[in-house]
Each structure stands twice: as structure tokens, then as C-alpha cells.
Assembly symmetry: C2
Homo-oligomer: 377 residues x 2
């Protein structure tokens, strides 16, 4: 069983495309949004709700899973998907982003990176080989190479050094990947993570070096770390021009609905982001008419659904008045219902994008969608 | 439309009985457990999950709803059931229990009771008439008279005074109930709350005085306030012997599965309790083999469901290992899944009791059930 990505439709006016990724646990239609299940749970939501919302694949964070509940626990269950009772493909990132954003005490060497755990303060070390081994045990369908994720802003020389190190780590990761077999009976696709910050020539260097290693797919890392949206769009577009056309591209950690539409236009196939669940827990909903901050007092008596154009359980069943009440009262059902709507909104946006690309009207649909976001604001 | 309670089966060996309560929003088969939806939400659970678990009716707390979100908000939605999107009968208690257990600053007079809000510290006042008016606006199918709930232990003279006051308040409540019509187009049954602490002669006095007022049903209040289980069982049995046979009896705030089986044996028809959801959020599950404290390290690698005899979503889909992980990590999905199982367990226990009574084997079933609880402990 091997991962196979097939492009199905191309937009004539832009670089947008639709495709299908075949995995041992099911197909993924792209462009796709991957809900983030940090420690084997997409916060507040059940796997059944994810399935009913149209989720095709779930992402777990290696950095977190490695520390909680630990790899033996996930291994004993038969891998991440079985552990969390998710009937579909899974993805685990490398942990690079979390090591470089969460752990303040860290030491990067040629061998790997040491860091202080945010869980218990213990010093931990990850290498390209250990990250592979961990992800073999977690058993996701896509696994990611260890990378050095640079912050924003960051000096050119530091980014250049990180790009070179990321390439050498990627080479060791691919070596280890080729030298080992799956612990389970399914193929695990190797994804390499492009770095280079906002420097085009470094992105080019990173892509050229990683492409030589012939991974199953590519991820664009090091964005959504504080750079202006225009920079993110520019660099994403630049990367997509250089990346091999026939392999899937995952823009990591991005983003808002607007960010995703720009990236789809550039030819990105996969997204993951905590925004729909995190913002949902904070009372913020993404809707077809823009942002709704449900804590706002104007919703106290509002008998309308959160989004009149949405067919999710939250919008089918509850009023803004009720959601306002639950959120203000800090009731857990409120966190759930807001998260559920946001995830459904993100997944539906991807579905609409796929249909629009198929039907050759992506740019028109994108403009219409963006205009509607501004209606209420 | 009028509330009608019909007894269907009687156990030959005990006072247990099955029945049906007809309401404008559906029938309730008794004995029934009523999940507690304090401020219009059964904590962590959706109305859909309640329905799928077999819930027939939901209880809201007048004391809490009055303060959050407030009666106008619930009224604007068309009543409690519509506000929370619960497609079935609802019940609201009088607030008496909360006033006397939550609010430390309170002043009882003939007119009513003043107390300091636990929400914002404001001084509030409730009278038998205002409690009726509030519950008319909330629009539940059963509404409860204001009562003075005595603590445990409590002097005989204080309990006697509370019984007398509760009867005078009940009379004013029934007066107001008869003198007003429903704001909505459905019948609201008037339930009077028996007091009397652990003193049999005071319970008798309370029941005789309340029965003269011919309410639609009775509640047994003032238990589950700290008295020994044996006292609770004794007083419940005593009350059931004296209460009119043909009206439904609600044992308020009770209890553990064991408490409920004893009470069913005495002839109780309705129960409500926060225990399944509260204990679930604390990592404690009620199962057919007794209590499971899922935080216990022995469950770290346990691949069995919480309860092998349970058919709820939690038990169908997840292992103890996963539930242990979620609970230890404080993940909201863990609170949900544990609450969901406990509610399903309580509801299923009632269903089994009804079937056992119908089939004339209640005592055998009760013994078998109790024995199984002790198996693992």
C-alpha cells in the first residue's frame, strides 16, 4: 500500500487545484483542512462529530503526544487513530514547531535538539532518527521530518543556518524512513518541511535540497509565526511555484479562512490550524458573514442561528441567544457548540473551494465569499 | 391538556410501581431519572446526546435560571425547552433547596425568603407567588411550590416551624396557580414539596396538609442533605406509605444508584440528581460492576471499555486507557464522555427497573444488580 496523490482538476485562472490522496485509512479530497487533535483529541469534540462535520483526516502533535500520554500508551492501543477512536487517516507533525515556539530552554546541535518539557520540566532530546521512530510507533499515515523552525523576524544568517540544518536533518530522516518498515501494516508517507523564513532565496534553497530527497510530500513550515499576512501569501505563492507539482503541499499552522483561500489560489493542498477550536472556545465564530463574537451583549435576545447559511448541529439547533448565555456562563456545552460550528465552517469552506475549482469558477467564488465576510462588519 | 399519571404495573413483593405521566411535550415512563440541566444545560452534554441516552425529561433550577440568563431571555425563546433546544418535557424546581443550601445570607419571613445572590451579591426575594410567576414564564411542564428546606441535623422545633410555613406557602402557591393560566398553551402541573426532616410525625403532618391542597403531584424534599442513608431510606418509605397512591412522587436530589433502587422499592416514581454529571467530571464512573475511578493508574493501558455491559457512545467507542488519558490531561472530551456514560447508566438502570417491575421480578433484579456492583470492589 503506497500513498498516491492524484491531481483531479486545475483552475484555469490561478494555481488552485483539486486532488485525492489515497491512504490505507481512506481517501482525502484536497484542498483539505485537517483538524488539530493536539493530544489525541480535537479539543471538546468527539470523533463522531468530526466525521459528521466532514473531517477527512486528523492531526496529532508529536511534541505533545510524546510527553502525554506517551508513546507506549498509544502503541498499546494500536496507534493514534485507534487510541482516539478516529476511523480515518491521521497525520503527526515532527514537533519542530512546538520545540521552537513552546520550549524556551533549548539547545540545537548537529545531532538534534534538546529542550525543557513544558509538562514536567524534564530535559528531553529529539533527533531526526528518534522523531522517525516515535512517529513509527504512533502510526500516522503521514509523518513529518524534524525541522528547525525560525521565528519572525529572524536574521538572514540565522535562517540560512536553519535551512541547511533542516536539510541535513531531512536527509537523515529519509534515510531512517527508508531503513525501517512500518510497525503496523500500513504505509507511512514521509513529509519534509520547507524552511527559509521570509527570504525567497532561502526558500528556494530549502525546496531544492529537500526535493532531491524525493519525499512523499512537502510541508511549508516557518510561516504563521507572526509575519504580516502579505508576507505569508507572497512566500506561500513563491514556494508553490518551486515545489514539485505532483506532490501534496501542506501549509502548516495556517490559518484564517482568508489565509486559506489565498493559499488555495497558490496551489496549497492541505491546511491545519487550532484557530477554529481555540477561537471557538473563546466565543469567536467564523461565519459566512464574517466574525461573530458571541459574548457581545447584542446577542442576548437574538433568536437567529450563529450562521444562517450553515447546516451544522449548532446552527440547526441553537440560537445566538442560547450560545451567548452558555458562553458567558462558561458552560462546557458552549465551548463544544462554538468549536463544532467553526470546524464545520472550515471543512465546508474547503468543500466549497473544491467544488468551485471543479466547476471552473474558483476566483468568482472566492470574491463572493470574501465579500460576504465583510457584509456584517 | 392536563397532566395525567397512570400506574401500569405494581410489584407484588414491594411497593415498586411503573406508570406513565402524560405531558403536552411527551410521555414519561416511570420510574424515571431526570437529568439536571442547572442553567438550561445538562453540563457538557447536548440535547441530542440526552435523547439518544434515553432521557425523557430535563430539570432546570429556578434559583439559577432566575439569575442566569434571567427569565426574560428564556421567555423570549418561548420557554426553557425551546431555549435549550430540548424536544421533550421539562421540570423546574422551586429554588427552595438552593436558597437554603447555597445562600448563606438569607431571611425567612411569612411573606417569603430574601437571600444574597451567589452570582452578584445582590439581595433577592422570592415568595410563593413570585416563584409561581417565574415558573409560568419559564414554562416547564411540572412546576414546584416554594418550600423551606431544613438542613441535617436540625432541631424538631425548627423543622416543625418549616413544615408549617411550607404548608402555608404551598397553599398560596396553589391559589396563585389556580388563579393564573399558562402563558404558553400547555398545562403546567403543580407539585408540592413535602418537608419534615427525619421526623416521621412531621413528615405525616406535612403530607396531610399538602394533600388537602390537591396538587398534581408530590415531591419529597429535605432529604439527601447529609443524613445517613438508612434515615433517607426509612423516611422515603414512610412518606410513600402516606402519600396519595395515584399521584406521582419525586424524591428530590437523590441519589446514588443504590439510593434509587431502595426508593423505587418504596414506590418513588421520579428522581433527579447532579451526581452522574458532577462525578463524571471528576473522573468517577458508575458501572454495572461498581465505581470506576478512571484517574487510577491501573487504567493507563487498559483496553477495555468503561463498562462492558453498557451500550452508550463512550463504551461503544473508547477504552479505559483513552478515558484515563483525557481525564488526567483535563481534556473537555473526557468530561463529556464520562458524563455521557453516567447519564446513560442512570437512565438504563431506570429502564431495567421498569422492565423488572413489569415482569414481576423486581427484587431478584435488584439483588442481582447490587451484587454485581460489589464484584470489582
Amino acid at each position: 500500500m503506497s500513498l498516491f496523490f492524484k491531481i483531479q482538476n486545475r483552475d484555469e485562472d490561478t494555481s488552485a487545484r483539486t486532488g485525492i490522496i489515497h491512504t490505507a485509512h481512506g481517501d482525502i479530497e484536497t484542498p483539505a483542512f485537517i483538524p488539530v487533535g493536539t493530544i489525541a483529541t480535537v479539543k471538546t469534540l468527539s470523533p463522531l462529530e468530526l466525521k459528521e462535520s466532514g473531517a477527512q483526516v486528523v492531526l496529532g502533535n508529536t511534541y505533545h503526544l510524546y510527553q502525554q500520554p506517551g508513546i507506549e500508551v498509544i502503541g498499546a492501543a494500536g496507534g493514534l487513530a485507534r487510541f482516539m477512536s478516529w476511523d480515518g487517516p491521521t497525520v503527526t507533525d515532527s514537533g519542530g514547531f512546538q520545540i521552537f515556539s513552546l520550549s524556551t530552554t533549548r539547545k540545537v546541535s548537529e545531532e538534534g535538539v534538546s529542550f525543557r518539557s513544558v509538562y514536567d520540566g524534564a530535559m528531553l532530546k529529539l533527533t531526526p532518527e528518534s522523531v522517525l521512530e516515535i512517529q513509527r510507533k504512533i502510526g500516522a499515515d503521514f509523518i513529518y521530518a524534524l525541522d528547525e523552525c525560525t521565528p519572525y523576524p529572524c536574521e538572514h544568517s540565522d535562517v540560512a543556518r536553519a535551512v541547511a540544518l533542516t536539510s541535513r536533518w531531512a536527509s537523515r530522516f529519509i534515510e531512517a524512513w527508508k531503513g525501517t518498515t512500518e510497525l503496523s501494516d500500513w504505509f507511512q508517507a514521509a513529509i519534509l518541511v520547507v524552511q527559509g523564513g521570509v527570504y525567497e532565496e532561502l526558500r528556494k534553497e530549502s525546496i531544492e535540497q529537500l526535493a532531491e530527497l524525493s519525499p512523499t510530500g512537502f510541508a511549508i513550515g516557518g510561516l504563521s509565526v507572526g509575519e504580516p499576512q502579505a508576507e505569508m501569501i507572497k512566500i506561500t505563492g513563491y514556494c508553490c511555484e518551486l515545489l514539485p507539482d505532483d506532490k501534496p503541499r501542506h501549509l502548516m499552522g495556517v490559518g484564517t479562512p482568508a489565509d486559506m483561500l489565498y493559499a488555495i489560489e497558490s496551489g496549497v493542498d492541505l491546511f491545519d490550524c487550532v484557530m477554529p477550536t481555540r477561537n471557538g472556545r473563546n466565543g469567536q465564530a467564523f461565519t459566512s458573514n464574517g466574525i461573530v463574537n458571541i459574548r457581545n451583549a447584542k446577542y442576548i435576545l437574538d433568536q437567529e442561528p450563529l450562521d444562517t447559511n450553515c447546516d451544522c448541529y449548532t446552527c440547526r439547533s441553537f440560537t445566538r441567544s442560547y450560545l451567548h448565555h452558555l458562553t458567558v456562563a462558561g458552560e462546557l456545552l458552549g465551548l463544544r457548540l462554538m468549536s463544532l460550528h467553526n470546524i464545520a465552517y472550515y471543512l465546508n469552506l474547503m468543500k466549497e473551494a473544491r467544488i468551485a475549482i471543479c466547476e471552473g469558477r474558483f476566483i468568482l467564488w472566492k470574491r463572493h465569499t470574501e465579500d460576504a465576510w465583510r457584509e456584517d462588519t
